[in-house]
């Protein structure tokens, strides 16, 4: 049973998170180990296994990047690993510019505004890429799947930049 079947929904990048979360709670109410605390050891073991599987499925489907990766892997697209070199030089140049933008935030005269601006820039570029990927995933042919895979890898770069933003925020505001 794949994760979409487990949650009884269509394979699609568009997922109704509210519905997903409600199905998740229904499933856990059925298999969670707490429901088997007075059952045999065998049933307890099985409950832990099923419950863990449902947790993993839920996390995967809830998170857009993980969901995209899951769909693409299910379609047989090979995900290059993270160390694999990236060919798109203009994208890599852009990444370097964005990193410099983040580094410059702390030297700005208005740190608050500079950080907010940086976050807007990142979020806009992220949204654009996600929408592109979403269309490519729904097209579902060999070329579009490969292109989606490429964009997914790009989005992972943005994810790392967002972690940097969090760190920056922590270091600027005392935590």
């Amino acid at each position: 049973m794949n994760y979409f079947q487990l949650f009884n929904i269509e394979v699609s990048f568009d997922v109704d998170i509210q519905e997903l979360s409600s199905s998740y709670q229904t499933l856990q109410k059925t298999v969670h180990p707490d429901k088997f605390a007075h059952s045999s050891e065998q049933e307890q073991r099985l409950a832990v296994q099923k419950s863990a599987q449902i947790n993993d499925a839920y996390q995967t489907l809830k998170n857009p990047l993980q969901r995209a990766e899951y769909i693409l892997v299910q379609r047989g697209v090979e995900m290059p690993n993270e160390q694999h070199s990236f060919q798109d030089t203009s994208f890599l140049m852009r990444q370097m510019e964005l990193r410099e933008m983040l580094e410059d935030v702390k030297f700005s005269s208005d740190v608050d505004a500079a950080l907010a601006d940086a976050q807007t820039v990142l979020s806009n570029e992220c949204t654009q890429l996600s929408q592109l990927m979403r269309t490519q995933i729904s097209e579902n042919n060999a070329a579009s799947n490969l292109a989606a895979c490429d964009n997914l890898r790009k989005l992972k770069f943005y994810q790392k930049l967002n972690v940097e933003v969090d760190r920056l925020e922590d270091s600027l505001f005392g935590d």
Partner: protein, 620 residues
């Protein structure tokens, strides 16, 4: 026409009598036990009407004292009287001595398994905790009139694997069956949540004697989903006392090292003064010095606030971080629940109120709320509430990972992942022809091995010799619903699975536990045998009951041959479990388990598809 009864999947159809269960708050300073009786949860008191048991154990020449009687000896006999054992459990000697440099004990044992030398010999913190659990268990047996089927023991959400495992070991030593280890803030949320029936995001601020937890939960139709948890496993009200003691020592012109009994006296006076300042603006403190002279001073609430301010701020920083982890804005929090005796300190209340911009909830006694929540959960787990909608979804407090080349930690399960969880990661060999791999399991958020907590080490041997990077070693991490970790490793191309002996870096291994259980019994061999027989008989009756119920409900999932095989196995088990042969019962249990393995899996899968089908019907 009579209607046929259909059981809830996973629930027993066999009617049973009310089972006795309890919730235990095994605290740093105080411990409590609570139980649900005639539908409501309350704490159980001892024969003198006291429900708080000080977590203090005193080893005297011919007996072991626990609670108030032990507390009475803590100043005159500090070396043999262990307080706050929870701060020592699952920790190395180095951890303990760097964090608490002025403890009065004579430590022995080795670096990773510290023990305290008492006049009854060396005792480890697990044994000390077991004494407290035994005392509470005896109290519950007397109050409820029988043996407990099981207990829920609470632990700080921030406890790491070694501390959790050690707590469970203490229960094993005490002969108490643990239904679940429950995180303290989650227990408090249960106690409050069931009271108010509210839906939305709540924050639980839990400041105990020795630990601080902050948990962010979403409440929805009986489901308590922990979104994130954070805190500090070594920050609590005791630290307020320590700050005050340091101040008093400075004011009195004393110089450390002081005598153990003077240290204890200062600690007690500081704690007393702190408590007095909850209601008063000023207190007088008198210390009896070693030369029998008295030293006196007065302390104002304002001065106390200056001393503890930095510690309170530390807790608020943790609150900010945890909200961020939960991806929740501070305005989304509809309720802040206060737990733990240290939340009585006025500065804590005002600062938390300011931080969340909300008056915190304190309607349930902060000392009792955790035990009460645990009792409610225990009542459900033991099967007394088959219709309960309640479900607790908790998370791992700290990231779990493995050591990779260069002393770096590769995270396998990030913190705040919902449990139970199973995650696998692949690794490869570093050198040509490498046939073994050392696996080092770590817990913590930092990137370097040295900054994280070492949980266990083991070796995977028998990897076929290949060029570097060709082997695929799959390491699987599993965290169960108690938050306890197990790790296994396998080489994929050859299928070599290591016969893994995960040696805990801290705490005790299974052999040590059984040895201690043996040692603690007067007639060791016989008692041990009797205990094992009883355990197997209990498991046998549980299995028989649940398989019969399952057959009644779902025999349609089986062929007639399969049903016959299961019924035979059950019959044999029922017969054998009347006897005295432990091994025979074990074998019969294995046979039943083998015969029902497929059945159990089919039932689980069928209940999964039914659950969502039912939901689809609800929507229409």
């Amino acid at each position: 026409m009579a209607l046929l009864q259909i059981a809830e999947p996973g629930q027993s159809t066999v009617p049973h009598e009310h089972r006795l269960a309890a919730g235990i708050d095994l605290g740093t300073t105080n411990s409590l036990i609570a139980s649900v009786q005639s539908g409501s949860a309350s704490t159980l008191s001892d024969d003198q009407g006291r429900d708080i048991l000080p977590s203090i154990v005193s080893y005297q020449a011919d007996n072991v004292l626990v609670g108030q009687t032990a507390q009475a000896l803590s100043i005159e006999d500090p070396e043999n009287t262990v307080t706050s054992a929870k701060r020592l459990i699952g920790r190395s000697l180095h951890d303990i001595q760097s964090k608490y440099p002025s403890l009065p004990y004579n430590f022995c044992g080795d670096e990773n398994h510290p023990e305290i030398m008492t006049r009854q010999g060396a005792v480890n913190p697990v044994q000390v905790s077991a004494e407290i659990l035994k005392s509470l268990n005896a109290r519950a047996q007397a109050a409820l009139g029988g043996d407990l089927t099981g207990v829920v023991i609470t632990v700080p959400a921030h406890f790491d694997d070694a501390q959790r495992q050690s707590t469970k070991d203490a229960a094993k030593l005490a002969g108490v069956s643990v239904l679940r280890l429950l995180n303290e803030p989650t227990a408090a949320a249960v106690a409050y949540g069931l009271d108010s029936g509210q839906e939305g995001v709540i924050a639980v601020y839990d400041l105990g004697g020795g630990t601080f937890d902050i948990s962010i939960l979403r409440l929805n139709k009986g489901v308590f989903e922990v979104l994130a948890t954070g805190g500090d496993s070594a920050l609590g009200g005791d630290d307020f006392d320590v700050a005050l003691v340091d101040y008093l020592i400075e004011q009195a012109g004393l110089v450390r090292p002081l005598s153990p009994s003077l240290e204890r006296q200062l600690m007690q006076q500081a704690c007393f003064a702190k408590e007095q300042l909850t209601a008063k603006e000023q207190v007088e403190i008198t210390i009896l010095l070693d030369d029998n002279s008295n030293w006196q001073t007065s302390l104002s609430k304002a001065q106390l606030n200056v001393l503890i301010g930095p510690l309170v701020n530390k807790t608020l920083r943790a609150c900010r971080r945890t909200l961020k982890d939960a991806e929740i804005g501070i305005d989304e929090v509809i309720e802040v629940v206060m737990v733990g005796g240290s939340t009585r300190v006025p500065l804590v209340r005002t600062e938390v109120e300011k931080h969340f911009n909300k008056t915190p909830l304190t309607s349930i006694d902060p000392d009792k709320v955790v035990a009460i929540g645990a009792a409610i959960q225990a009542d459900v787990l033991v099967g007394n509430k088959p219709d309960s909608e309640m479900l607790l979804l908790d998370v791992t407090p700290l990231s779990l990972g493995l050591e990779t080349m260069g002393g770096l930690v590769e995270k396998v399960i990030p913190r705040n992942t919902t449990i139970p969880v199973a995650k696998a990661q692949e690794f490869t060999t570093f050198k040509d022809g490498q046939t073994a791999m050392a696996v080092h399991v770590l817990q913590g958020e930092r990137e370097l091995v040295d900054d994280c907590r070492s949980l266990a080490r083991f070796e995977l041997r028998g990897i076929p010799a290949m060029t570097a990077g060709a082997a695929h070693i799959r390491v699987t991490f599993k965290v169960d619903a108690d938050g306890l970790l197990s790790v296994s490793a396998m080489e994929k191309s050859s299928g070599v699975e290591s016969s893994i002996e995960v040696k805990p870096s801290f705490g005790l291994d299974d052999n040590q536990i059984s040895q201690m259980i043996k040692d603690s019994m007067s007639n060791a061999a016989d008692d041990m045998q009797a205990r094992m027989l009883k355990e197997q008989q209990v498991e046998a009756s549980r299995v028989i009951e649940s398989v019969q119920a399952a057959l009644l409900a779902d025999s349609k999932l089986l062929t007639t041959d399969e049903i016959a095989a299961i019924e035979n196995a059950i019959k044999l088990l029922a017969q054998v479990s009347q006897g005295q042969e432990v091994k025979a019962i074990e074998n019969a249990l294995d046979a039943v388990n083998d015969s029902t393995a497929i059945f159990a899996e089919r039932r689980m899968d069928s209940s999964i598809s039914q659950a969502l089908a039912g939901q689809a019907v609800d929507k229409m």
